[in-house]
Symmetry: D4
Subunit: 162 residues, 8 copies
């Protein structure tokens, strides 16, 4: 019987390489995971609405058209995810990441947060809704390896009972 | 890993070629999309109930039998769609299109409306529940290309982070 | 034990007196009904968004602000209704009425449509989702009187078994 | 028949007087509104978990105990709200406010955001899920007055059709 | 604090006095119960649709109009019941009673069936979805007295721990 | 793109060949349909519980064990069906068929009933929840052919717009 | 405006006075709380099924009849609770308490567990689904006082912002 | 058409070979079943949280990190199961098994319990929510064989009507 594919949605910060590091880790470990994400080209994500549907004079509606366009993707992919990883970085306020975390929690998804320890206090409510709080992308990969296959670093090849 | 297939339901107007134009655009762009639609042969859609289940004297029940027969299809296909495109034209009142939009919104589907700007005011409540308001089928295709693959016209080949 | 109050939401046409006729009939019959409705002053309904949140240059966004403002009311009151009556008239396309009907049906509400027989064919899909199709406001009142108390015109005082 | 009471949950910033201004406005207008909110005494909100359940050495678990304690309140009151107002201020990252907005949207609540125009771009995804975007508490009050009673500033006493 | 009122919907057979016996038992025991039921005047229940909405030539549509009219009542009252009692008698096939039981079970309601032991085999699937299978209306009353207040016949006044 | 497979659950009567006739019709028409059904060997269906889990002295518990064992199958297959066909015959009371219809309707499935016209009055509430009322298995097949592919007898090869 | 009443369901151990201590604490603090619980007279809870519905020879079915009778109460009261407190003691295995906790968590209720620290390891999965883990009934009362009114022991009269 | 695969989640006891016996039985019978389970290496299951996310001083938080890590797996696999088998043994209190049973029941899954008759009384509430109560893994396999294919031991090759 074919191994189950796990859908993992990677929400949040788009300016560092955390998604690539998770993707590489998942591939290296050979995990049966489909990774989904928002469109991560910043300008495209900002301009997609007006580029497709026509320009706007006001920045507010320019933004609105882009935000709802991107929401078509988010709603669908986050909505069918098994696990939603939400990454918070230092630079931006990333309210959309916290918004995604709130949606995911309300939909009963397994949420994993990913951020430095310096953000612990500011993110305490979001972390409280998560099933794992990671500091590095590698921890996310190890969490997936354990959750999906029971592989634990430094242990003999443990296996899920199947 | 196989690319995800997106289910897109095309609701509304059946007298113009907008569905064909979306189908062609989707095919040309090679998008992983399954397009579904109601039965679009007008007479068949009207007569299907009585043709299969027996004639009726009253137009009201003739119509009812057809409407519920068609609803078997709509309920199933709209119910599993990721995206519901709803097209409004000039000629008919197309209350069934607006009804589908209401159902889709209540079910949490991503709704895209498609109509000329002259209908903006009349459709303001429906548009307000949509994540994109398009004027041409080609805009719908471009929206799908961006949402699914991050492709944006006039930009260098942007890619979703996967 | 206090009699149960039924919540009835009256959606659709705002240019005739059908809501008043239902309200009078309900009062005359002494039915335990709370009637809710959208804001029915046409200009206010159109302008509420910009009047409160600030003007817009484009008609499209003027309309959008109003439509979402009105949606706060609709979503709440329609969402807690037991019965949703949807009225269609001759003059306007009233796509918002059909949209409300679609939402109500998807939410499992009991839908009653109210329109002239000349609209039967155009409304066949909406009517097919309704539990009663009325032509006059008085029929709606009689339907409520029967449904709530078992009162039927021309019958001896029939009573629900309580 | 008694007027319907609207439940409005006020989420977000706790360091300015926006909740008081909404409360005063609602009272002055005599609106049938029950206002709910998180516990807004900052230290108490931070320390409630350990004060009741026992101290923790690590700040992380100190925070966790507080966050889940507060979540008992939030989950209940936000869960039964008709309208969720989410306030974002300048000083803090307020990821919990965005998290609440995400939960509220996923639960189908009517969301109103409240923030200065300077935050428009950063909040575009959250605003896109809101039915109204306000800049002042007084706009929130006016929105409630319109939504509940149809009252619009500068118009003759308009009334909901009831 | 006022005692909680339990909503109990009494579905099924309308030709014997079982509802009256439950009502009397509930009243005698002073239980905080609101009893709801379909309209139980047989002819009215059959004719309500055409009496209000206009006559039909075909018996099939005459029946349909009545059935959907009655469904407005059933959907609302069964939908808010805590407990649904479904009575099966000897004479009729009462498919509507079994239909109500199926709806109630799918909605997560507590179902109690009420029928003679001679129907046990025929009703085994329905009974399997019930939380109690009673043979007499008095057993239903005793079940309610126990469930609501912990009163058990022949025991000293047992009480729920409140 | 591979054609969508429709899941059709065939509930009800097990003593005639209606399921075989539907299966043959579906096969002949080459429809992409997966047909599911309860276990239709009468004695096995009756005895499965005790045969597997141990004998019971009382017929009531013998029946219960069988009914819940069969419910494992029904709950799963009916729960993922797109269309639920419910067949009523002359001989038995088939309350389980009506129970399945009630469950299916409450779960929002498309319900098709199948019975002779002589049962119309007795089944009026069940029929009122169905989207098609058929008298013969062949009509069910034709309904599926139309709903899935837009094929209508006596019409030129009409096609769904895909 | 009347203060909101919080529904708190007290599940689990029935052999100690923890419910009384919570009830007294709630009353002393004057909290607006309705406390619900299963029937806590052990023999009645065990025998209720057969006492009302008729004796059984086998202990298994004696127990089944009692368990489903009690489930009518549990399903209703736990189903409308805001907060579910689940108490585990030393003596019994109390699988029904853990079952209730699982149901409550799946239904999105706020769960509070109550048990000695010696049970921490055995209850780690249940505690992980709880928003507060208490060791004494007095902690539960203090948690309710904080959650409902913002009252925290040893702090000046803090108040929820309403 | 390919045979449907049934998802069966095996929850509970991890110290005996019951999962292996079910796996062997399923394989021997050639049943189309995907078996899922929690990670069953006891130490790994206990330590997974801290091994991946960092050590904790307190046993309570060591346990919490492990429990929520394991919950990512449970929530996903139990959440998509058709059938949840819950095994209770003699040695441990296995509150997590009962918790899983409560979750599964609240989610509408078909639950099968597996335990010795000596635990019948202690497990009566859990058994009451199950559709089958087995004493041996072989009975679980036979139940699956019947439910999926209609195979019954000692009967001639009975077949599901497909």
């Amino acid at each position: 019987m074919a191994e189950r594919t796990w859908n993992v949605y990677l929400s949040g910060e788009i300016h560092t390489d955390w998604r690539e590091r998770i993707a590489q880790g998942v591939e290296r470990a050979g995990l049966p995971v489909r990774l989904d994400a928002p469109i991560c080209v910043h300008e495209d994500s900002d301009d997609c609405g007006t580029a497709i549907l026509g320009a706007e004079d006001k920045a507010f509606w320019h933004d609105r058209k882009g935000a709802t366009m991107n929401a078509i993707r988010t709603r669908t992919l986050l909505g069918e995810a098994d696990v939603v990883v939400v990454r918070f970085g230092d630079k931006y306020r990333q309210w959309n990441a916290a918004f995604d975390a709130g949606s995911a929690a309300a939909l009963g998804k397994a949420v994993i947060t990913l951020h430095g320890a310096d953000l612990n206090h500011a993110l305490k409510e979001v972390d409280a809704a998560a099933l794992a709080v990671c500091e590095t992308p590698e921890q996310v990969v190890r969490a997936l390896a354990y959750v999906i296959r029971g592989e634990l670093p430094g242990r003999k090849g443990s296996l899920a009972a199947e």
